[in-house]
Symmetry: C4
Subunit: 279 residues, 4 copies
């Protein structure tokens, strides 16, 4: 409701902004809930529409529902632009683009055809859920998790890069050993198989059949089993650290002289200026 | 045996209650053991009955065994109601309903048919095992585990929700890329495939066949490999915390002379000043 | 060489014992190495013999090699009995039985036939490797690991028991939903499928085909993905604890008065008797 | 640029060395970037060449590109030998051999044929990437990871050795139980299947079909599920230790007055008595 202070904005715009962008008032809560239901319905429709039997049976129902939802989303998009003070900031924001992509495909499909390719874009409507959920309740709880993941990102990228190089070399080897027999017809395919195997997914559409190929595959699998521990170890450790650093911030005093924080729990004197701390 | 104080309850009811609900006396222990054996036999019968060859061969044996067990369970159910002071509390409790569902399907099947659909309910008899095992011995040991799981529940739900959204978007993408060729005939099926892949199960009944589809699949798999670390990290960390907080509760002695804490559980003297601790 | 003190044992017996049971002398080391090679050869032969092509081609070579190895093992077994002071203790020990089972199948197969069933027993020869390796070098390093596993055993058993019950209930459900179509012909088979799925193995010989079955399967898979964290969390935590407790033992003093150990690193006085510790 | 001090080396050699071996100067950076691009192109070509359709279609393009790259790599190899003061040290170093193997196969293939077998060796060109990346930026971050992996190496080898022995015994058992029916035609193949199952890969090309075989398979899978925790626990724990030991090395200040340690890195005064620390 920070916009209320601004006297130049008309009152109905402020009210609209409150309803659309916030969830403090009953109207705002109802708006969010209604939007949540429409998004879920629209994504469910996109899914069901892709099943040929349903599509043939309920062609017109899908068609009408699609247009109703598109029009609702279009109205919502226009209202969002109107009610905000700086529309450009919204339009080019992440959610602004997602909102646009939630309505545009239907219009493009109507005027130019090619509905099939636009399916994927319509599924992006799902991303809108994140805004509505305003998952602040959980975010607070998963804050440390995010910090842990951010800290371990660089290490996990190095790790995945190493995994990829192992896959390329092992894939080339498997192509040479197995050749056509097991379905390892070319190197990219063999690399794909290596990734499938090393990640312990194991579809089985391609599988080694020669004894040597199976031996190499065993080595790859046991390696994969051994290195599955690495990302887990990293995340666990970083999560532990994020956890304990969070705790220490809560427990610490701030030096009244030099404003230093980060004191140990048992500290009686400031480690920065030597002043006694008021515990 | 807390009921023994109550003089208004007849003696035989108290005795029955002791035998059925408790396991302190030899009779109570025997009752529990007998029930355990009958439950395991009954669940084993439900399983074997579902194998067509066995069902045809031993039709009458299954039929008789089923009725013997049903009658035993019915008698037990009636005895439980009789022997308890507040039958309603039992009848509508979790185990009361499980007990009822252990006997009812056979009667319904006898009078109305439809035995096949009642299989699942009969398998619920298995849940009765938990009561008998009174797994207090292990529960004590897995207490910290339960605490760790309760603490990490919210975070794991957020995580699984994020995994689901990744699956929906990736599934839609795979349906567009692969189409009919690899078996990705519709979006719900593609999402199912994504879940199968991301969880590293990998049945292989559906598998990408186009180069681009295989590339996307590789990205999904490596992502899955990377994020398998997250729930593990959460549970491990929470388990560690639950563990150390448990320990710290025990160790709350503070030396009355030098105020030192961090004493071992068995400490009788302060390790800092040598003064006797008031345990 | 503790046997050398004993004057009643003839000298050649002591020498033989030293060579066979110990690895301090060059002769003892050579004996162990030779035995290691023979065991590996014998296990490799058992494996190769099972390949029909090799078996037909090299029937006589296998036959002769098998008998040479059996005779060597028989001689070794007799020497082990002769050279030890208390033969009974050896014969009924774990390794004594393994040694006997390494020779007996060949004789039984020769006199009574049935060689196929004796394969498994001959593969037990592999267990003999453990004795020879005397993996003391590594054991020292994996001591904490063993402790961690022992501590987490009870919890992991409870966990696996819970997993099994989930599998039985989910298996029954899948049998009812899928029936014959997906290959879920009976409940034990469906339970087997559930175990395959929950452990993320996913062979794909049985896979759900109905939409509802696939939905339930997705729930099972995501559950499996979530609970794979639990044993990992337990082992990691216990391993950490075993680790830190090991460290504290190294760093601690023993009280000169009451012989108490387990002192904290910073302890200046014994927590048991209050005596000053000589740091 | 340490070579610059040496007056006996001609100036152009020093300059060349700077460009080729270092990345401090703009020329050195450009050289590294150009080489990186060529290596990636060359590896991509090796991959694409293995796809029969592309190979037939673009035979001459591949042929020419291969020779251009080979000549570039040959020139680079010669320049590396010329510009370094001790060529032998380079030639027999790891990267020296990789560099040689990046060029040799093309020449051998030209003079003696057998290009197919030389594919694998050409894929080794990928290893050259590591040198160029000079992944110092990430190495710094994954230093603790390397330490953790080195510390846990022995334990993980013992663990994998135990897994292998379990696989051999379980594989023999499965061969005896399943025989030909499920595809367990010989023991090595059954062991291969056990590794596939225990690592939770599960291709499904071989799968048990008898009830007993499926029961044993279930036991193997649940075992695999339980022991997947072990390497993870080891790595996580060692990573934690490496992490904290890194920190503790930095924090070795001890207060000269009260002997308190546990100071923060930035501490200038003792948090226990307020005395200035001698950093």
């Amino acid at each position: 409701m920070s916009l209320k202070d601004n006297k130049s904005t008309p009152n109905w715009k402020l009210k609209l902004h409150e309803v659309i962008y916030e969830a403090d008032t009953p109207a705002g809560k109802f708006f969010d809930l209604a939007l949540l239901v429409i998004i879920i319905i629209s994504v469910a429709l996109v899914m069901l529409e892709s099943v040929p039997e349903y599509f043939e049976l309920y062609y017109w129902e899908f068609y009408i529902a699609e247009w109703v939802i598109t029009i609702i989303f279009t109205i919502e998009y226009i209202l969002r632009i109107i009610s905000i003070r700086r529309p450009k900031a919204y339009i080019f924001s992440f959610y602004g683009i997602v909102d646009l992509l939630s309505t545009l495909p239907s219009y493009i499909g109507f005027f130019f055809g090619g509905a099939n390719l636009l399916f994927a874009i319509r599924a992006l409507r799902l991303l809108r859920i994140f805004r509505i959920l305003k998952i602040s309740r959980y975010i607070g709880e998963s804050n440390k998790l995010t910090e842990a993941l951010r800290n371990s990102r660089a290490k996990i990228i190095v790790f995945l890069f190493a995994v990829l190089i192992v896959c390329i070399i092992a894939g080339t080897l498997m192509h040479l050993i197995e050749g056509e027999t097991g379905g390892f017809t070319n190197i990219p395919l063999s690399i794909y198989w290596c990734i499938v195997t090393l990640t312990t997914v194991g579809f089985g559409d391609i599988a080694p059949v020669t004894p040597l190929g199976r031996f190499i595959a065993s080595v790859i699998m046991i390696t994969g089993y051994g290195i599955i521990a690495v990302p887990t170890g990293i995340v666990t450790s970083e999560y532990n650290k994020a956890d304990s650093s969070k705790d220490s911030i809560k427990n610490t005093q701030v030096c009244p002289v030099c404003n230093e924080h980060d004191h140990l729990n048992k500290a009686e004197f400031c480690h920065n200026c030597g002043n006694r701390l008021n515990a």
